[in-house]
C-alpha cells in the first residue's frame, strides 16, 4: 500500500481521537466520583429503605438556588432515638455536642461562574434523578453525570423528554408510564420557552 496515503490517514485518525474520544474518557469526565465522607450516609437506606422525602433534609430545594445540606440537628431528630450508639454516627453526635459542623465533601462541583438554581428546576417539573441519577439507590453518593456544559445543554435545548408531573418530581423511582402526559403537554403547562433556555446568561453571570 502507498506510504503517503497511509500517513495522511493516520494523521486524520489522531485528530479525530483527540477531539471525540479523549474528552469522554472517565479520567476527564470524573463520573462515578465518590469521595470519602465523614459519615457513610446512604441515600439508598434513607430513601429507598425508609422512604424519606428529599425535602425532609434538603429543605430549601423548592425555595432557593441551594438545595440545602441538612444541619446536624436534622440528623439528630431521629438519631437521638435510634442507632444512638452506632459507631458510624459518632461524628454526628460529636458535632451536635460540640457545635462543630460536619465537613461533607462536595460531590457535584460546578465552577464558580456557573449559577445553578435548584428551585426553578423543581418548579418546572425536573425530577431530582434527572441530574442526580439513581440517587435513591446510592449507598454512598457518587457523581452521576459528566456535568459538561454539553450535558446541561442537551436538556436545556430539548427539555420535553425530561419533564414529569410536579407530584413526581421528588420520586426517585419514577418511570414514564403510558398515561403520563407527554413532554410537549407538560412544557406547555409549565410555560417553558425552550429557545430561551440556552441563552448564555441563564447560567453565566
Amino acid at each position: 500500500m502507498n506510504t503517503a496515503l497511509v500517513l495522511s490517514a493516520l494523521l486524520f485518525l489522531v485528530l479525530l481521537l483527540s477531539v471525540w474520544v479523549v474528552p469522554v474518557m472517565g479520567y476527564n469526565t470524573q463520573q462515578r466520583y465518590q469521595p470519602e465522607q465523614p459519615v457513610p450516609f446512604s441515600h439508598k437506606h434513607h430513601v429507598a429503605g425508609l422512604g424519606l422525602d428529599c425535602r425532609y433534609c434538603h429543605t430549601s430545594v423548592e425555595t432557593s438556588s441551594f438545595a440545602g445540606i441538612p444541619p446536624t440537628e436534622t440528623c439528630m431528630t431521629c438519631h437521638s432515638q435510634i442507632w444512638t450508639h452506632a459507631a458510624v454516627l459518632e461524628p454526628v453526635r460529636q458535632s451536635f455536642a460540640t457545635g462543630v459542623p460536619l465537613r461533607w465533601t462536595e460531590v457535584y462541583r460546578l465552577p464558580d461562574y456557573v449559577y445553578f438554581n435548584h428551585s426553578i428546576h423543581i418548579a418546572k417539573g425536573i425530577g431530582c434523578t434527572e441530574c442526580h441519577g439513581p440517587i435513591g439507590d446510592m449507598a454512598l453518593t457518587w457523581k452521576w453525570p459528566t456535568l459538561y456544559m454539553s450535558w446541561c445543554l442537551s436538556c436545556h435545548r430539548d427539555p420535553a423528554p425530561h419533564l414529569r408531573p410536579l407530584n413526581q418530581v421528588f420520586n426517585p423511582f419514577w418511570k414514564r408510564t403510558p398515561d403520563t402526559p407527554s413532554g410537549k403537554l407538560l412544557m406547555a403547562a409549565y410555560h417553558i420557552h425552550p429557545e430561551t433556555l440556552s441563552d448564555c446568561g441563564v447560567c453565566h453571570r
Partner: protein, 453 residues
C-alpha cells in the same frame, strides 16, 4: 559587496561561467561543507541573542499577563497586533515573489524564490505567535479551532478575527507544503553530493527517495504549477483578510473599504524589500554573484518601485476619504493622525515608503547594492510605522471624546519586537545552513537554455 554592478542592456540571468556542475556544487557546498563563514555565525548569534530576550519576554508575559504592555482602554491593541500585521506582510512578500512570478514565468524568479520562501517560513512563525501572545488568556487560543468541544460551543465565524485565524493557519500549512514540493529535487541533489554518512541519511530521508525519473519530474512540474496557481490567490486573500480585521470594525480610521488592497500593496513592497536585503546578503555572503546577478536585484527593485507607487495611491485615498466624507469622527481621527501625538510616525511612513523609494526610477540606484539595501531597510521600518499608525492612533481617538487616550510602549513592548526579530533571524540562518538557498533544479533549466542559445 561591489559598489556598482555593471548591468548591460540584455543582462544574462546567470553569469557566463556557470555550468550545471559548478552551480550544483556552489549551492550544495554551502550546506555540505563543514566550514561555516564568520558572517553566518555573527548573524546567527545575533538572532539567538534576540531570541533569548523573546523567551524572557514570553515568561514574564505568561506570569503577569498582557498588562505588562502599554495597552489600555481605549487602546486595547498595541505593538503585538501592529507587528503581527507587519510580519505577515513580510511573509506574504515571499509567496508573492515565488508564486505570483512563477505564474508570470519570470526567469529572474527562479534564483530568488528559494530565498523568498525561506524568508516566508522564518517570518510566518513570528506572525503566528504574536496574536496568540496578545490574548488575555493565551492558553485558550485553541477555542478558535472549529472542533466539537465538551462545552458544545463553537467559534463565532462572523468575526474577522476568526477569518484571520483560519487564514493564517491555512497559509502557514500551505506555505510549508508548497515549499517542500519545490525543495524535493534539490534535497535529492544534496543527498547525492553528500559525503558524510549522517548528512546522506539526513537528506536521504528528507528527499523521500526522489530520483528525478521522467515521471517524477512531470508530476512535480504539474503539481507545482497548480500549487502556484493556488498560492497566488491565497496570498492575496491572506493579506486582504488581515485588512478586514480592521475594516470589519467600526472604529474611525479602520472602517474603510480600501483596506484589503491597501494591505496587499503593503505586503508587496515590504516583502520585496526584505527579499532584496536577504538576496544581497546571500549574494555577498555566499559569493553567488553569478547566480544571483544584478539582473535579479534590478527586477526586485522594479517590483519595489511598483509597490511603492501602489501604496502611495492607497495613502491618497486614506486621506481623501475622511476629508471629503461627512463623518466627524473619521475626520477628527485623521487630523489627529497627521497632526496629533503620533504625527511623527505618520510622516515617517510617508517619507520611507513613498518618497525615498522614488529614487528607484534611476537605473544607477537600481545598480548600487548599498543604496538598494538601505532603501529596502527604510521601507521595512516605514512599513512598521504604517502598521503602528493604523492600529494605535485610530484606537486612541475613537467616537467618545471622554474616552480618548494615548498608548505608551513599555519595555516589554520593545522586547516583543526585538524578540520576534530574533526568532526570524535564528530561523532564517538555520535554514540557510540546512537547505540549498537557490533552487538548483530551476536554475539548471535556465543554464541549459542559456547554453542552447
Amino acid at each position: 559587496m561591489t559598489v556598482l554592478i555593471d548591468l548591460p542592456r540584455e543582462a544574462p540571468v546567470v553569469g557566463p561561467g556557470v555550468t550545471l556542475r559548478s552551480l550544483s556544487e556552489e549551492v550544495s557546498n554551502r550546506v555540505l561543507l563543514p566550514n561555516t563563514p564568520r558572517w553566518w555565525w555573527i548573524g546567527f548569534a545575533l538572532g539567538m541573542a534576540l531570541l533569548l530576550t523573546f523567551v524572557v519576554q514570553l515568561i514574564w508575559l505568561f506570569i503577569n499577563g498582557v498588562g505588562i504592555w502599554g495597552i489600555n482602554i481605549p487602546v486595547a491593541w498595541g505593538f503585538a497586533i501592529a507587528e503581527y500585521v507587519w510580519w505577515i506582510a513580510l511573509a506574504s512578500g515571499g509567496t508573492i515573489v515565488s508564486a505570483l512570478f512563477f505564474l508570470t514565468r519570470s526567469p529572474w524568479r527562479s534564483a530568488t524564490n528559494r530565498i523568498a520562501e525561506t524568508m516566508l517560513l522564518s517570518a510566518a512563525p513570528c506572525a503566528g505567535l504574536l496574536p496568540i501572545m496578545h490574548l488575555g488568556r493565551q492558553g485558550l487560543f485553541y477555542w478558535l479551532f472549529p472542533y466539537s468541544s465538551v462545552m458544545g460551543v463553537w467559534p463565532q465565524v462572523r468575526s474577522p478575527l476568526w477569518w484571520d485565524f483560519v487564514c493564517l493557519l491555512c497559509y502557514i500549512l500551505m506555505s510549508i507544503m508548497y515549499y517542500y514540493t519545490g525543495l524535493l529535487p534539490d534535497l535529492a541533489t544534496v543527498r547525492d553530493l553528500a559525503r558524510t554518512r549522517w548528512k546522506q541519511v539526513f537528506y536521504g530521508v528528507l528527499a523521500l527517495g526522489w530520483h528525478g525519473s521522467a515521471r517524477h519530474w512531470r508530476n512535480q512540474q504539474t503539481v507545482y504549477a497548480v500549487m502556484s496557481a493556488i498560492m497566488a490567490p491565497m496570498v492575496i486573500s491572506v493579506h486582504s483578510v488581515v485588512g478586514l480585521d480592521f475594516a470589519g470594525g467600526i472604529t474611525p480610521g479602520w472602517h474603510s473599504t480600501q483596506f484589503p488592497p491597501y494591505f496587499f500593496f503593503g505586503a508587496v513592497i515590504s516583502g520585496t524589500a526584505l527579499i532584496m536585503m536577504l538576496t544581497i546578503l546571500v549574494r555577498w555572503g555566499y559569493g553567488l554573484e553569478d547566480v544571483l546577478t544584478g539582473y535579479h536585484l534590478n527586477a526586485l527593485a522594479k517590483v519595489m518601485l511598483v509597490g511603492s507607487v501602489m501604496l502611495g495611491y492607497a495613502y491618497v485615498w486614506e486621506a481623501w476619504g475622511p476629508i471629503y466624507g461627512s463623518d466627524v469622527a473619521e475626520r477628527t481621527q485623521f487630523f489627529y493622525r497627521i497632526f496629533g501625538f503620533y504625527a511623527a510616525c505618520y510622516w515617517g511612513k510617508i517619507v520611507l515608503n513613498i518618497v525615498i523609494p522614488q529614487l528607484l526610477w534611476l537605473p544607477i540606484v537600481r545598480r548600487s547594492e548599498v543604496l538598494l539595501f538601505s532603501i529596502s531597510a527604510g521601507i521595512i521600518v516605514g512599513m512598521w510605522l504604517e502598521r503602528f499608525v493604523i492600529v494605535i492612533p485610530s484606537l486612541s481617538h475613537g467616537y467618545m471624546p471622554s474616552y480618548w487616550g494615548v498608548f505608551f510602549p513599555t519595555f516589554w513592548d520593545w522586547a516583543a519586537l526585538a524578540g520576534t526579530i530574533g526568532l526570524f533571524l535564528s530561523l532564517f540562518f538555520l535554514l540557510l545552513k540546512l537547505v540549498p538557498i537557490v533552487s538548483m533544479s530551476e536554475v539548471r533549466e535556465i543554464v541549459a537554455k542559456e547554453r542552447s542559445r
